[in-house]
Symmetry: C2
Subunit: 201 residues, 2 copies
């Protein structure tokens, strides 16, 4: 199994987290998004959308989209819920993550780290959108330890990836005490890894 | 089963399509997004994100996010693929739809129909993003009749919803002959309904 990856990417980090939880060994192929390595013709032959993460199976079949990869790896393990309703709720949170959360929080983080000169103007609309997404999470976590069911699932992995580095996007997480407590609970996992950890292969 | 809905919404139309395919009767509750009816406190008690579609089951449990609702309704039917890899590929296309396709094509359509005075400036970035998403679909459909496997699945339903009205967003679909052929194939379904059809309850 090969993972095409870029280490600071929260989307890729989701995949590294579940591979660590499940003890799956893989070949780690690092691409530099700033050098256009995910937009090369060679890479777009593998993923026409030109994005990491991309998982390549030993038979050459490939899966893109971080949350679809999470599903593929988690299905049949405790990280994918057991019944249809809880599965749909996990997907609900994962679609929320890709539609409401990541396009605000991950993009604000990207701009503050790499693109303040050219894209700072976008922050005016991104910051309230990110705060709104965090408020929805905070409301859920006021009454629940996890996003679905009684333990961490793909939904928590998907939401952890960019929430735990939301501070790098300019978001003040101390305004969200239930999120802080959930981040701590999540990172207590015995096979937790940090976003910057080089995977062992 | 109740569906909270707004008739012109492609995201809601996905749910109406699969309910029609499966012959499921439901109560149809129309909200007017332009009057803020999805942002009322009463509705946000049901869905804190303040969006339709929202599916409410007979026991009061609720599922938001169009593609999560599609999963819930399709699981165990021919519209959800049989094996893990094809399931992950269906989700890959559904996440592509919500991340790359809908935020460009559906938003361009919304602006052209309702918000040209206040938001026309956004079209400059939305149009090339929408064309890029259509190009990815066109490339896939050059070699495949459907997005996953040998018949329509949740992936086709999710992508059909806003692609078939992309013209209302200013996109010229005649530039994408494989998409045109797929739209025709899709709408040949004996239980097809149009986006503006009032469901029977």
């Amino acid at each position: 199994m090969k993972l095409y990856d870029y280490l600071p990417s929260g989307n890729s980090y989701k995949v590294r987290l579940i591979l660590s939880y499940l003890g799956i060994k893989y070949e780690h192929i690092l691409l530099d998004i700033h050098k256009g390595e995910t937009r090369s013709e060679a890479f777009k032959d593998k993923n026409p959308v030109g994005q990491i993460p991309l998982l390549e199976l030993s038979d050459g079949r490939r899966i893109a989209e971080s949350n679809a990869i999470l599903y593929f790896l988690a299905e049949g393990t405790p990280y994918w819920p057991m019944n249809s309703y809880d599965q749909a709720k996990a997907l609900q949170w994962m679609f929320f993550e890709q539609y409401k959360h990541e396009p605000a929080i991950a993009v604000a983080r990207f701009i503050r780290i790499y693109a303040m000169e050219s894209r700072a103007g976008e922050l005016e609309t991104l910051m309230p959108r990110g705060e709104a997404a965090l408020a929805v999470m905070e409301g859920h976590l006021a009454d629940n330890l996890w996003f679905v069911g009684s333990g961490p699932t793909v939904a928590d992995i998907a939401l952890y990836a960019y929430t735990h580095v939301a501070g790098e996007g300019g978001f003040e997480l101390t305004n969200y005490p239930n999120i802080i407590a959930w981040l701590d609970r999540f990172s207590d996992h015995p096979k937790h890894i940090r976003i910057t950890d080089q995977p062992m292969s």
